[in-house]
Amino acid sequence: MEHLHPNDDYLRLLHKFCPGCGNGIILHTLIRSLKSYIAASEGVKSQEVKPESARPKKSKKSKKQKFENPLDRFIFLSGIGCSGWIVSPHLDADTFHTTHGRSIAVATGVKVANPDLMVIVISGDGDLASIGGNHLIHAARRNVELFCILVNNFNFGMTGGQCGPTTFHDAITSTTPFGNFEYPFNVAEVVAAAGATYSARWTVRHVLQLEKSFERALQRSENGFAFIEVLSPCTTQFEKRNYNTEDPELLFDLFKTNSINIKDRDKYTSKELEDKFILGVFGDREVEGLTKTIGNIKSRACAHKKHNSIGGEK
């Protein structure tokens, strides 16, 4: 079959998102970062093979699952909403389209039950930060080895542009016709504070940084909860109501002109920061992941059994 697009080998079909939507960019950025991650990890493997075969095998119980195709190792979960459709059904891999907000809970079960899998959650701000906010915070706290992408389009796009937990103050939505009287959630910061291994925020305008960040997050998700919030325009619902246009360029320009890197945050006053998008890495730290700590407990529990079978009390 003739490939019309370099990423066609990873896709089942072309996406049908609204013109100007950032979901397509995110899908292709994800595929590119997956490809380079897979290439890098295969490179590491081929390098590792020689010294390992020379050494005597350390453990007999290395029952690592083998994957025919490198993409088989990746499980993609999503919730409900436009961003729930980014991977399901487009990506030609195992996709898991869950109930609203519960993708992280299901992903936790998948990862803990089979730690050999790489689990990627990709969903929207309404799904992950509103109805699934509790799961998000707790996944960061228990540092379960997931790569979680939150697509933030500032409103509930699929259901008709309602106000959400990430809608700007004073923004017009279908449920705040006179302006949003609430203030938005700083999700990347919340996740970093909750204990995630990696937390970052980028926009679909910063594709190069986004791709690098995805790659970094994929690596970090081997050891813990890696989270990236991606700001993305919703031309059909949000932009139309607030900027009176469906021109995707407008929000793309806004992402460019109004963004500052978190490293430069101190250069601005808090007043100036109010209408800025703060991008960059909010947290990157070494913590033991959940499946590792569960593994530790298993060996402790088995040791306990042995102690009991001897029957001696100390």
Partner: protein, 407 residues
């Protein structure tokens, strides 16, 4: 000053996991007798059935199941997780089940209500899993530590929405708490459905002698032989229950709770696909009703009165009837439902034929009795004995008094 009583640890062997549990799944060749608590028996049954993943949230009166499994599962290579809420608990077991693990959660009424949406999701995605509900007195938080049987309709109808069939079992002894846990796993695996196992707090916290069968039968889900087999439709062999692959095996699964075709592609507008899917999900249970339904019945000749019960109320019914037996007056038919859903319509129809009065003792205002109203056309009168609140049991005397009126 009084001397502090020192409790020896072995006085509490029935609660102490270390005594027998590990034997039970390593050497189950002989019939054994143990002295177990109901909830503990559920944990033992789960391990025997092959459960290797548990996700839960603490709730009285089901917490002992969680306590035991948190100590037992790591020893058999499984994992036990405490999630942030019951919604996440059932989400996690659905995820784990798709990796091939047998998975379970346990809760009580208030937690069970939080699980409803993902029970619907498990039905739609045909995910085998077991949900144990140790029932307490409701509505709402009600009487958390005391018994009730108010969740039998929640077990039947609780979901997102829509038409569906469900399998729900109810135990009346601690032995059954063990054996029906295994049965729940078997049914879940055979029919690719969530199975709800109901226990009353009475049974969950009851400590009594348990008979453990030698080598219980364990079922495993069917696995696909080829990569292009439909996993959400009629199987290539023509069975209504399709084989189930695991995540990460290269099947490129499309798992969704939205209406989907046999390969998982979303078809959210096609009426025909929806009708086909939803009727298959119901039919796969309904056509196997005879295999699924379990009950105990005894119908003496010329019986005019019958008792229909389930759970701990049937123990009281049995006691009342054995007292009649002693007086040589036992002409009462007795039916105990083990499977509550799918509802044993044919079996009940057969049982109530010829009867005039049916007595239904229950720990609610008559939920089973309401279901039995449908059989009035056979000329029966239904008499409820309801007992709710305070953890007070129905007394054999109450049933005998009711029986005396019609004997």
């Amino acid at each position: 000053m009084k001397e502090k009583k020192q409790l020896k640890p072995n006085q509490f062997k029935y609660l102490n996991e270390s005594t027998t549990s590990l034997k039970s799944y390593t050497s189950n060749n002989k019939i054994r007798r143990e002295f177990w608590q109901g909830n503990y028996a559920v944990a033992e049954g789960a391990i025997t059935a092959g459960c290797r993943f548990y996700a839960g949230y603490p709730i009285t009166p089901s917490s002992e199941i969680f306590h035991q499994l948190s100590s037992m599962l790591p020893k058999v290579g499984g994992a036990c997780l405490q999630m942030e809420d019951e919604i996440a608990s059932i989400g996690a077991i659905i995820g784990a089940s798709w990796t091939g693990a047998k998975a379970m959660t346990a809760t009580s009424g208030p937690g069970f209500s939080l699980m409803q949406e993902n029970i619907g999701y498990a039905i739609m995605t045909e995910t085998p899993c077991v949900i144990v509900n140790v029932m307490r007195a409701g509505p709402s938080t009600g009487q958390a530590t005391l018994t009730g049987a108010g969740d039998i309709y929640q077990a039947r109808y609780g979901s997102h929405c829509g038409d569906f069939e469900i399998i729900a079992l109810c135990a009346s002894t601690v032995s059954e708490a063990y054996s029906l846990t295994i049965e729940s796993f078997n049914l879940a695996e055979l029919y690719r459905v969530p199975v709800i196992f109901l226990l009353e707090e009475h049974i969950g916290h009851l400590i009594e002698t348990v008979t453990i069968p030698a080598k219980p039968q364990i079922a495993h889900r069917k696995r696909p032989k080829r990569k292009n087999e439909p996993v959400f439709g009629v199987s290539t062999a023509g069975e209504l229950v399709p084989p189930m692959p695991n995540l990460g095996e290269g099947y490129k699964l499309l798992i969704t709770g939205s209406t989907h075709d046999e390969f998982g592609w979303r078809q959210t507008r096609d009426g025909e696909v929806h009708r086909k899917l939803v009727s298959r999900l119901a039919q796969k249970i309904l056509i196997n009703k005879d295999k699924i339904i379990k009950l105990e019945r005894n119908k003496p000749k010329n019986a005019k009165i019958g008792i229909i019960s389930y759970g701990s109320a049937s123990r009281v019914a049995n006691e009342a009837l054995s007292r009649l037996e002693k007086a040589n007056r036992n002409k009462v038919a007795n039916l105990r439902l083990i499977t509550l859903w799918p509802f044993p319509d044919e079996q009940i129809e057969d049982f109530v034929k010829g009867l005039k009065h049916v007595i239904v003792p229950e720990y609610n205002f008559g939920l089973l009795a309401r279901e039995l109203e449908r059989f009035r056309y056979l000329g029966i009168e239904i008499h409820k004995i309801s007992q709710i609140g305070g953890g007070e049991p129905i007394l054999p005397k109450q049933i005998l008094e009711e029986l005396e009126v019609y004997l």
